[in-house]
C-alpha cells in the first residue's frame, strides 16, 4: 500500500540497522514516548535488529494506560445510570476500575457504545434529545483537537444533553517528570510523531537543554523508528543534545495551528493524575470556564470523588521504563489480556499487551 509499504521495507530496515550498529560504541537507553511506537517496535520486532548496547525503554505514552483508576470509576458510575448513553473509544471498555469494567456495565444493561470519533457522540446527542450523551475524552494532544471540536460543535448547536468526561494528558510535563526522577535511566527520547503533528515541537528544546537529552520527533513505521533511533544515537555518540525531526512528512515545527487554537479555545491546562505515576502538575487539559457546562464530572456530581490505587501490579514501573513487561512476576500468568491486572495489559498500545501478544516466549522471537 502506497505511503505504507515503503516504510516497512525489509532491505532498507536492515541497512538502517547496520548503520546503527556501525555508529554505536557504548550502551545507550532510549525511550520511545508513544504507545503506538511501542506497539510497532514489538509487532515488527524492530528492537531485534538493534545492537545489544541499545535498550529501548517503553514510555508512558498510551492514553488508556495512564488514565487513573479514579476516572475509570467515574466512567463506570455514569455509564450505569439510566437514561445515559456512554460513548467511548473501544480500548477503554476493558480497563478495570475498582470493581468492574465498562464491558460488564454494558452486559448488565448500561448503554455503552463504541465510537470512532467524538463527533459521532455529538450526532447521537442530536438524535436522542431525551437521553444524556456522555463521551469519555481520553488521550494526548493527538486526540485533544477532536474532543475540543466536539465540545465546540455541541455548544454551537446549543445541545444541553451532551457532556464529556475529560481525562486528557500532555506529553512534555510527563517527560519532565520522568527526567526529574532520581531513578531515570533515559538518555534520549523518540518524541511521539502524532502529538507533534498537532503541537509542533517548540516545547522540546528547553527540555533537551535542561536535562541534556537528545529528542527526535519520530513516526510510527519500522523505518521511521529505526531512523529515529539512528538520529538519537548520532547525537549521543557526538555528545549533542538537540531536538530533531525525523517525521518531516507529517510534522512542522509550529504544528497544526488551527488545531492548537481550538484546544486553547475549549480547554485550560490542569493538574492530572497518571495511573502508575501519580499527580503531575499542569499535565492535563480540562474544560475552561466558557465550556464548563459540558463537564460530565460536574454535571453528574462526581468532581469530588477520589479513589486511591491499590497495591497489586507493577505497571507503574513499566510505564516509567524501570522494568520491562516480562520482568513483572505476574506477566503472562496472573496477568493476561483476558484478565488484566493493569492498564498496560489492556490497551492495544500498552507495553505489557504488546509483549504478551507478540513475545511471550523469547524463543519465538528469533533470539
Amino acid at each position: 500500500m502506497k505511503y505504507l509499504d515503503e516504510y516497512r521495507d525489509g532491505e532498507q530496515a536492515q541497512q538502517l540497522a547496520r548503520e546503527i550498529h556501525r555508529i554505536t560504541t557504548r550502551p545507550w537507553s532510549i525511550m520511545e514516548v508513544c504507545g503506538g511506537q511501542t506497539h510497532a517496535i514489538v509487532k515488527f520486532g524492530i528492537d531485534e535488529l538493534l545492537p545489544k548496547a541499545i535498550t529501548l525503554i517503553h514510555g508512558p505514552g498510551c492514553p488508556v494506560c495512564v488514565t487513573p483508576l479514579e476516572m475509570i470509576d467515574k466512567a463506570l458510575e455514569i455509564a450505569a445510570r439510566p437514561n445515559v448513553i456512554f460513548t467511548s473509544f473501544g480500548d477503554m471498555l476493558r480497563v478495570p476500575g475498582s470493581t468492574t469494567d465498562l464491558l460488564a456495565v454494558k452486559a448488565k444493561g448500561g448503554d455503552v457504545r463504541i465510537v470512532y470519533s467524538p463527533l459521532d457522540a455529538v450526532k447521537l446527542a442530536e438524535q436522542s434529545p431525551a437521553k444524556e450523551i456522555v463521551f469519555f475524552g481520553v488521550g494526548f494532544e493527538t486526540t485533544a483537537p477532536a474532543t475540543a471540536m466536539a465540545v465546540y460543535q455541541a455548544a454551537q448547536k446549543g445541545l444541553t444533553n451532551f457532556s464529556m468526561l475529560i481525562s486528557h494528558v500532555l506529553v512534555p510535563p510527563a517527560i519532565e517528570a520522568l527526567m526529574s526522577s532520581p531513578n531515570c535511566k533515559v538518555q534520549g527520547f523518540l518524541a511521539a510523531g502524532h502529538v507533534c503533528t498537532v503541537m509542533g515541537y517548540e516545547e522540546y528544546p528547553p527540555l533537551a537543554a535542561k536535562y541534556h537529552v537528545p529528542i527526535v520527533v519520530t513516526g510510527f513505521e519500522p523505518l521511521d523508528i529505526l531512523q529515529g533511533v539512528m538520529m538519537v544515537v548520532q547525537q549521543l555518540e557526538s555528545g549533542r543534545a538537540g531536538v530533531e525531526n525525523q517525521y518531516t512528512r507529517s510534522v512542522r515545527r509550529e504544528g497544526n495551528q488551527p488545531a492548537q487554537e481550538l484546544i486553547r479555545k475549549v480547554f485550560k491546562v490542569v493538574s492530572r493524575k497518571w495511573r502508575g505515576v501519580g499527580e503531575i502538575p499542569e499535565s492535563g487539559l480540562g474544560l475552561n470556564d466558557v465550556y464548563v457546562a459540558f463537564d460530565a464530572e460536574k454535571k453528574f456530581g462526581l468532581a469530588d470523588h477520589h479513589v486511591d490505587e491499590p497495591a497489586e501490579c507493577l505497571s507503574g514501573l513499566v510505564l516509567q521504563g524501570q522494568i520491562k513487561p516480562h520482568e513483572c512476576p505476574a506477566f503472562g500468568t496472573k496477568c493476561t489480556p483476558e484478565h488484566p491486572l493493569g492498564a498496560t495489559m489492556v490497551s492495544s498500545e500498552g507495553a505489557c499487551a504488546a509483549y504478551y501478544r507478540y513475545r511471550r516466549l523469547p524463543a519465538a522471537a528469533g533470539k
Binding site: D101, G278, E312, A364
Partner: protein, 351 residues
C-alpha cells in the same frame, strides 16, 4: 514536584471472572474459547464433540456423514456482497466442506422480531433459496419463532446441515503434522471490512464487497485430484490468526507464517490501517485455510487459483515441528514474533 520514586506504583484488582456474558464471549477470540471449554465442552463431553472441528463426522450404518450448525446474527442484514440469508446457507455449507463432505441438506430456523417488514423477510428468504440452489443443497426442515418488538434485532437465522463423506481421508486439526504446507484459498478480510465500512459510514474509492461464498466445490476438486489434505478450516470470526491458533492448539504443532505472503487486497489493507485492525484478525465468509502434504502443495495451489473465489490463493507458511502449540509470524522486516489469537471481540455481530 515529587520525585518519581515516591509515586504510587500500583494498579487495580483484576477481574478474574465475569459474572455475566459479554459481547466478547461471542467474538471468536480467547474469551469465546474459554466459555466453550469451561461450559459447553465440560457439560456435553464426548469424543465426537472433542474433535472441535467446523463439522463433526459421524458413522451411521456404514455411511459417513458430516453434521454441523451455525447461527447468523449479522447487522445490518443486507450488506455489500451478501445478506443474512445467503450467508446462512454459505456458512453452513462451508462448515460441512471443512470435513471434505458434499453438502446435501439444511435446516432453517427463523427468529423474527415483531414488526419486521414482510418484504424484508421475503428478500432474505429468496436469497436463501437462490444460494441453496447454487450450492446444490435443499432446505428440508425448519422452524419459525417471533419475539416481541425490542427483544430481537430484526432477524436471526440458524441453519444446520448434513453432508455425505465419500473419501477415506481424515481431515481434522489432530492430523496436522510437521512438514505440512499451509495455504489460504483467497485474499483475506473482505467480509469484516465490508460490514465495518457500512456500519461506520466509511467511504473508499471502491466499495469493498463481502467475500461470502460457498467453497465446497473447490474442496471437492482438491479431493478429486487426490491432494493429501490433513486439515481444513473456515476463516470466520477471529480471522486467520484464530484459525491457525486453534489448529496449533489441537495438534500441538508449531506453525510459521510469512506476513508478506498473506494475501490482503489493497483496499482492505487500507481500511484496516485506518481502523487500527490487523487483517489477520478480520473475518472472511468464503475463505479457508488448508494444511496439505508438502508434495501436494504446488498442485493444491493451482487448483485453488483456478476456482471462482481463489484468484488470491497463496502458500502462507508451514508446520515446522511438534514443539507447539505456537504460531509465529515473520514480520515485514524479517523478524519473527508470535501471532496470537485476538483476545475478545474485534467486530461484534459480523456473522
Amino acid at each position: 514536584m515529587l520525585p518519581v520514586s515516591d509515586f504510587s506504583l500500583n494498579c487495580p484488582v483484576p477481574i478474574s471472572q465475569y459474572p455475566h456474558v459479554l459481547m466478547a464471549h461471542g467474538g471468536g477470540g480467547k474469551l469465546m474459547h474459554q466459555l466453550i471449554g469451561k461450559m459447553f465442552l465440560t457439560a456435553f463431553r464426548n469424543p465426537l464433540l472433542e474433535t472441535q472441528h467446523d463439522s463433526t463426522v459421524v458413522e451411521l450404518t456404514g455411511r459417513k456423514l458430516a453434521f454441523t450448525t451455525d447461527s447468523y446474527v449479522v447487522r445490518p442484514i443486507f450488506f455489500p456482497g451478501g445478506d443474512i440469508g445467503s450467508m446462512a446457507v454459505h456458512g453452513t455449507v462451508n462448515d460441512l466442506a471443512m470435513s471434505g463432505a458434499r453438502p446435501l441438506y439444511l435446516s432453517s430456523a427463523f427468529i423474527i422480531e415483531e414488526g419486521l417488514p414482510m418484504e424484508t423477510l421475503w428478500r432474505v428468504v429468496c436469497s436463501m433459496r437462490d444460494a441453496a440452489q447454487r450450492c446444490g443443497v435443499q432446505i428440508i426442515t425448519g422452524d419459525t419463532k417471533v419475539v416481541d418488538k425490542g427483544k430481537g434485532d430484526g432477524l436471526f437465522i440458524n441453519t444446520a446441515g448434513i453432508g455425505i463423506i465419500a473419501h477415506e481421508q481424515k481431515i481434522a486439526p489432530q492430523n496436522v503434522r510437521p512438514g505440512d504446507v499451509v495455504l489460504v484459498s483467497g485474499d483475506l478480510g473482505r467480509h469484516g471490512m465490508a460490514i465495518m465500512a457500512v456500519r461506520e459510514g466509511l467511504e473508499f474509492e471502491s466499495r469493498i464487497e463481502s467475500d461470502s461464498a460457498p467453497v465446497h466445490d473447490v474442496v471437492q476438486a482438491l479431493m478429486k485430484a487426490g491432494i493429501e489434505i490433513h486439515c481444513l478450516r473456515d476463516l470466520t470470526r477471529g480471522g486467520l490468526a484464530s484459525a491457525l491458533n486453534e489448529i496449533a492448539e489441537a495438534s500441538g504443532v508449531r506453525l510459521e507464517v510469512v506476513e508478506k505472503s498473506v494475501p490482503v487486497r489493497e483496499d482492505v489493507h487500507a481500511a484496516c490501517e485506518m481502523l487500527g485492525l490487523d487483517p489477520l484478525h478480520v473475518a472472511c465468509e468464503g475463505r479457508f485455510v488448508a494444511f496439505v502434504a508438502a508434495n501436494d502443495a504446488e498442485r493444491a495451489l493451482s487448483i485453488l487459483r483456478g476456482s471462482v473465489t481463489g484468484a488470491g490463493a497463496a502458500v502462507i507458511g508451514k508446520v515446522t515441528d511438534n514443539s507447539g502449540p505456537l504460531v509465529t509470524l515473520k514480520s515485514a522486516i524479517g523478524v519473527g514474533r508470535i501471532l496470537d489469537m485476538p483476545s475478545g471481540e474485534q467486530l461484534p455481530r459480523i456473522c
